[in-house]
């Protein structure tokens, strides 16, 4: 059989050209540009000390973080009517909610049964309860609260986060529970 050299060269050239086209077309792209400008501003909704601010508590700079130092008494209910406030400094209303993050000691730890409940209640400026957020125990197990529905905090208004604690009868003094709660603001 006779090989047609001319045709073969043409075919090879075509194949090579198609390869080039394929690799070139794969490299075609374009870019769009985003130029974000980030300005540091005070949070419009922030924490504020209440009239029952517990001693040993810390309000973080800028009011976006708070550490509350609470007590609990065995078989007696301790009530902090106004330990912490949540303040909307904006001229528009905002929504917020409480969301459980963590609790320590965790369920299964034998010290959990020393606590009866730690209850947070969001109250409006007139003291009317808007929503509650309860941690309670059953034996060594915590029942943690579900994420709260969003509440509307009116413009230039301060609401109250009220707290109740109770330890079990015969509870051992000195035991602590540490709770982390996120407050989502939008």
């Amino acid at each position: 059989m006779e090989i047609n050299l001319r045709k073969t060269v043409k075919l090879v050239f075509l194949l090579f050209a198609s390869l080039l086209i394929a690799s070139a077309s794969a490299a075609v792209y374009y870019a769009i540009t985003m130029e974000p400008s980030v300005t540091i501003q005070n949070a419009v909704v922030q924490f504020a000390q209440g009239s029952d601010w517990p001693s040993g508590s810390t309000l973080g700079t800028n009011g976006t973080w708070v550490s509350l130092s609470l007590k609990a008494y065995p078989n007696a209910t301790l009530i902090y009517e106004e330990p912490l406030n949540i303040s909307n400094t904006d001229s528009a209303s905002h929504q917020f909610r409480l969301r459980h993050v963590s609790i320590s000691p965790a369920s299964g730890d034998s010290s959990v049964s020393n606590f009866t409940f730690i209850r947070f209640v969001v109250k409006n400026s007139s003291g009317v309860a808007q929503a509650s957020f309860n941690y309670s125990t059953s034996g060594d197990t915590w029942t943690t609260p579900s994420t709260m529905s969003y509440l509307t905090l009116p413009a230039s208004t301060e609401w109250i986060i009220y707290v109740e604690t109770k330890a079990a009868a015969g509870a051992a003094s000195g035991l602590s529970v540490n709770i982390v709660i996120a407050v989502d603001v939008q």
Binding site: A43, V45, Q46, F47, S51, D52, P54, G63, T64, W65, V66, S67, L68, S69, L70, K71, A72, Y73, P74, N75, A76, T77, L78, I79, Y80, E81, E82, P83, L84, L98, V101, N114, F115, I118, F120, I161, V163, T165, A167, A169, G170, A171, A172, S173, G174, L175, S176, V177, N178, I179, V180, I181, A182, V183, D184, V185, Q186
Partner: protein, 190 residues
């Protein structure tokens, strides 16, 4: 007469169809700007600053941690006073305001009586029960630092012989500002 151009119409329809598919495939995105703040709450079990003790009348049962009690008394047709039914002792070097608050009751028409807080010299009436009606004064009594005050049951008389009357109260211990502790004190009138 105008002749329909099927070829052009077909192309147009196809074009509209492609446009429709593209538009339907563009997803709309909704987002909210939000941020998260954090509460770290540490609650420590502590010894309560005020404790309940059985009084010299020996009528009280004191429960665990001395933070709740039951006072049991017999009522009869003759008026009787129990001056030291229960002791309320302040172990703290701070003064507290205290008062009794009713939160539940049953069969109160069985008895008439007045419940008083006192320190043997001064007193404050807390609750009166007459003809089944309860009156609460809401008055605070000063429990000075490291002192003891007493619960007095005054002029207890029985109206109805059968049954037992119960009065459930909180002893509210007011810590400065609006923080307070509630101790349960139950009165049982047999």
């Amino acid at each position: 007469m105008l002749k329909p151009n099927f070829k052009k119409t077909g192309f147009l329809c196809f074009g509209y169809f492609i446009l429709l598919v593209l538009v339907n495939n563009i997803e709309s995105v909704n987002g909210n700007v939000f941020y998260t703040m954090e509460i770290q709450a540490a609650s420590t079990i502590s010894v309560s600053p005020v404790e309940l003790q059985n009084g010299t009348d020996n009528l009280s049962i004191i429960y665990a941690n001395n933070t709740s009690a039951k006072i049991s008394v017999d009522a009869n047709s003759t008026s009787i006073n129990y001056t030291y039914a229960l002791n309320i002792k302040n172990n703290n070097d701070t003064s507290f305001l205290v008062r009794l608050e009713n939160f539940n009751s049953s069969n109160l028409d069985k008895i008439n009586t007045t419940i008083i807080l006192h320190n043997s010299n001064t007193s404050r009436t807390q609750i009166s029960i007459v003809g089944g009606s309860l009156n609460e004064t809401g008055e605070y009594y000063n429990l000075t630092s490291l002192s003891t005050i007493y619960v007095k049951i005054e002029n207890l008389t029985e109206n109805i012989q059968s049954g037992t009357a119960y009065l459930y109260t909180y002893l509210r211990v007011k810590i400065p500002d609006s923080t307070y502790i509630l101790y349960v004190i139950t009165f049982e009138f047999r």
